[in-house]
Amino acid sequence: MTPPTSEYALEIIGLNKAFGGLRVTQDISLKIRQGERRLIIGPNGAGKTTLFNQISGDMRPNSGQIRLFGTDVTTLAPYRRAHLGLSRTYQIITLFTGDTLEQNVTLGLLGLLPSRWQMWRPLSSYGHLTTEARRTLDTVGLLHLADHPISEIAYGEKRRVELAMALAQRPRVLLLDEPLAGLSNSERSTVKALIASISRQTTVIMIEHDMDTALDLAETVTLLNYGRVIVDGARDAVIADERTREVYLGN
């Protein structure tokens, strides 16, 4: 099957999700172009992560459609979406704490390869995978820690490993859930530079509260509140919009 092509990396059409009476996603429609840098903002509880969870497939919407490069993925399992080029990081760090940084990233690489079903050879014997993993760790500035277990490294470094795991897969669409949360100032600028250096082959959609840093990275901004899209468009237009000030930026 050749997937239908589309100028949009991601299209969300009329998405709805409710937990009981709580409507966390209300009729959300978004179109994100290939290579675009989209920032998603909104107050706590606006439904940002819930939206991500539906895009990645961790959660099923009640109605609506999600299209990845024109392919309807609404009911597709998360791992199938990963194979279509979708990758994500988590707000709460979900790394394999007993394993080394290198092993974590190698596992990330393995996810898209047929050899993940291989029952004879140990993962460490795939030389090219470990090389690739170390190369990716180098780009996030963590090569010197490659052989340390995750449990030994600092929080800010873990966030960068999260990013490395996602980047190693060379995703076509990358969802970043608060990549800057809890980082020190110097770490922020490192991660910011890192995100800025991501190739245009990759569409980046980011949830972030740190507006000073995140706005520099974004071209377009979507403001969510109570599960609805309030404002959506080019960065400066959204920032200048009255409703943005009202809901989010404060007067």
Binding site: D58, Y79, F96, L112, S115, R116
Partner: protein, 311 residues
Amino acid sequence: MKWIASALLAAFLLLLPLFAGDFYINLASQILIAAIFALSLNLLVGFGGMTSLGHASYLGVAAYLSALLASRYGFGHGMAAIISITGTVATAAFFGVIALRATGLGFLMITLALSQVLWGLAYRMSNVTNGDNGIAGLTRPMPFGILLDSAAAFYWFALIVACFAFLMMAIFVSSSFGSSLKGVRDQPRRMAALGFNPWMIRWITFVYAGFWGGISGLLYVYYNKYIHPTSLSTTSSAEALLSVIAGGSGTLGGPVVGATLVLLLKNYASAYIERWNMLLGLVFLFIVLVMPTGIVPGLAKLTARFRKGSQ
């Protein structure tokens, strides 16, 4: 140091029948069988994070099938073994589909329920299984024309199978598939986001564990030359689970050590106390309190501390 210890252990296992009496040789054979069984359960419990209370199903299905085929339908041992293992794997494949609809406690309860169904069948379908009387008068196979009737011959046979099983399971858990399995145990959501299919990984492991459970079942019925519904009972599953947890789940040595401990207690203590289960319970309690991760990881931690202290 490690090499010397391994060589000594290998020599001990290999030469055991030359210096031990039949009682001990037979005990060793039983330990080997229980070790394969516990190792196979450990693939689920330790490496896959799927705690099953129904693993005796696979031991029992293989044992019953082989017993029935050989004694009632006149199959040769080779053919009977192939059909029994195929049947066991098919059972595991089917049970896996049902049990893996859930995880955690739900999974545990489903495996328990499914194995209870088989136990009930073995008990009540007495026109086929002989019910509570069990199937007696079975024979041992003669691989390559070698008679396995003596304690020593059977022990060596079991030793070969056990070593092979251990090796195969060791390769399995350290393979890249094994890495995916451990990943799914620890972070299923993350693994799915990375492109792994958690359900399929769990199911394949479930079937593979069923296969080795079936192999231990064949050895079990060859050894005893008799099969009774108790081998399908929850007690049988729980004993293996106890071995895995006491020895150290998620380690390769743990289930072997655990199975050894359980069988030694069973054979020695039952000679002195009728309620040997109570003693087993107390020993288990002691292990869990002193070494919550099991004997093997606990001892490893102790020796590491000792080494650090002596430096």
